[in-house]
């Protein structure tokens, strides 16, 4: 049987390298590519057209959920499994809404991750709950969420423009619209809003 082709994205190199070794050792899985942020992941997905993308939910430059939207465009047959430390309903729901086929918690055992990969490849879903609650996250456009994440990562407008390959003018107008939509007036409030919307996350999971 042909091994399942997996692309693995996690910004924590130590975890990513270890996971890759774990999956490879299983024999039924072949890790064909690795990425350390959401943008690199989208590029790899386009180039490699993997069966499964295993995606950490919080990554720099572009988080896992928003990266998933790009993957669905550039490699529609790829099934996405979100890897996450967060068992909050809101995150699980967001993954579901973004079209994830699975959601694996980092405190699950390696065997469960492998089971999840097999499940999604054969067309099934793998979620920690049977019916994810519905949470609407459509206040911001995907582009606005991308800008918000980069702002919250401390990037200057010029850096954001270069990461997104957009003009400075476009970035400025996105920023202004973000402030308006989120009804905030300062950088501090933008950062808080970014955290609340799950675009970035700073705190560890609740005990």
């Amino acid at each position: 049987m042909k091994p399942i082709r997996v692309v693995l994205a996690d910004d924590h190199t130590l975890v990513r390298r270890g996971l890759s070794a774990l999956l490879t050792a299983d024999g039924s899985i072949s890790v064909v590519g690795e990425a350390e942020d959401g943008r690199e992941l989208a590029k790899k997905a386009r180039a490699l057209q993997p069966d499964v993308a295993l995606v950490d939910i919080s990554m720099p430059l572009l988080n896992g959920l928003d990266a998933m939207l790009k993957i669905r465009r550039v490699s529609p047959q790829t099934r996405v499994i979100i890897l996450s430390m967060f068992s909050d309903d809101a995150y699980i729901a967001a993954a579901w809404e973004h079209g994830a086929a699975g959601y694996v918690l980092k405190d699950e055992a390696p065997e469960q991750l492998i089971e999840a990969i097999h499940t999604v490849v054969s067309g099934g879903m793998y979620f920690p709950v049977e019916h994810p609650p519905v949470v609407t996250r459509n206040l911001l456009t995907p582009r606005e969420r991308e800008v918000l994440q980069l702002i919250a990562e401390g990037k200057r407008n010029s850096e954001i423009a270069s990461v997104m390959m957009r003009s400075l003018h476009t970035v400025r107008s996105h920023r202004a619209r973000l402030m308006m939509k989120l009804r905030v007036h300062s950088a501090a409030e933008l950062v808080q809003a970014a955290e609340k919307l799950g675009v970035v996350r700073f705190s560890p999971p609740e005990g």
């Binding site: 130590l14 774990l22 405190d107 401390g154 609740e206």
Partner: protein, 194 residues
């Protein structure tokens, strides 16, 4: 050559298994045990007396920072190396003050980790690359808590001008260029140290 005996402590089973798998691929190490929180770490240190104990920072129950002195007391021969999701230089000092040999970010390369384990086993202590003063750390944590310059000045009983000066110093030393960047950095640091 005797292998270094390593214990891995992290609350996430997948992370534990990944790190163990990674270390197993090096002939220098032997992973002798794993645990999911600080209490487990203390018990394993006492029972297995490993050369190095890799300890995650953020864990439910007893977290990494608070577990360090207890692990050292349970087995003085065991050297503790913290592993963290974030790479905050000023936070290394906190770890060392409590008796760890150092701190490695989970974003580092496998080679960085293996070097750090070997140095830790030799009893070497990491030095912070950007040492911040106690006052700077205080200001940083108040910024992260969302306080304005005026509030910080009141809390620390210093002038607003001094707060502004600290803020500028912090941005220069940490090489941060935007207001949002400083807040994010501060929040991560607080989370890591709390």
């Amino acid at each position: 050559m005797t292998r270094l005996r390593v214990v891995i402590v992290d609350d996430h089973a997948l992370v534990r298994a990944s790190l163990a798998k990674l270390l197993c691929s090096y002939s220098e190490f032997e992973v002798v045990g794993t645990a999911a929180d600080g209490h487990g770490a203390i018990a394993l240190a006492e029972k297995l007396k490993p050369d190095v104990l890799l300890l995650d920072v953020a864990m439910p129950g007893l977290d990494g920072l608070n577990a360090i002195p207890l692990i050292r007391a349970a087995c003085p021969a065991t050297h503790v190396l913290l592993i963290s999701m974030h790479d905050e230089p000023e936070y290394l000092q906190e770890a060392v003050d409590r008796g760890a040999q150092g701190l490695v970010s989970k974003a580092s390369s496998p080679e960085d980790l293996t070097c750090a384990i070997m140095s830790a086993a030799r009893g070497e202590v990491m030095k912070p690359s950007i040492p911040l003063s106690k006052r700077e750390r205080e200001v940083l944590s108040l910024i992260g808590a969302g306080k304005t310059n005026e509030q910080i000045a009141t809390i620390l009983s210093i002038s607003q001008k001094t707060v502004e000066h600290h803020r500028q110093q912090l941005m220069d030393r940490l090489d941060i260029h935007t207001e949002a960047g400083l807040i994010v950095h501060a929040r991560r640091t607080i989370v890591a140290a709390s």
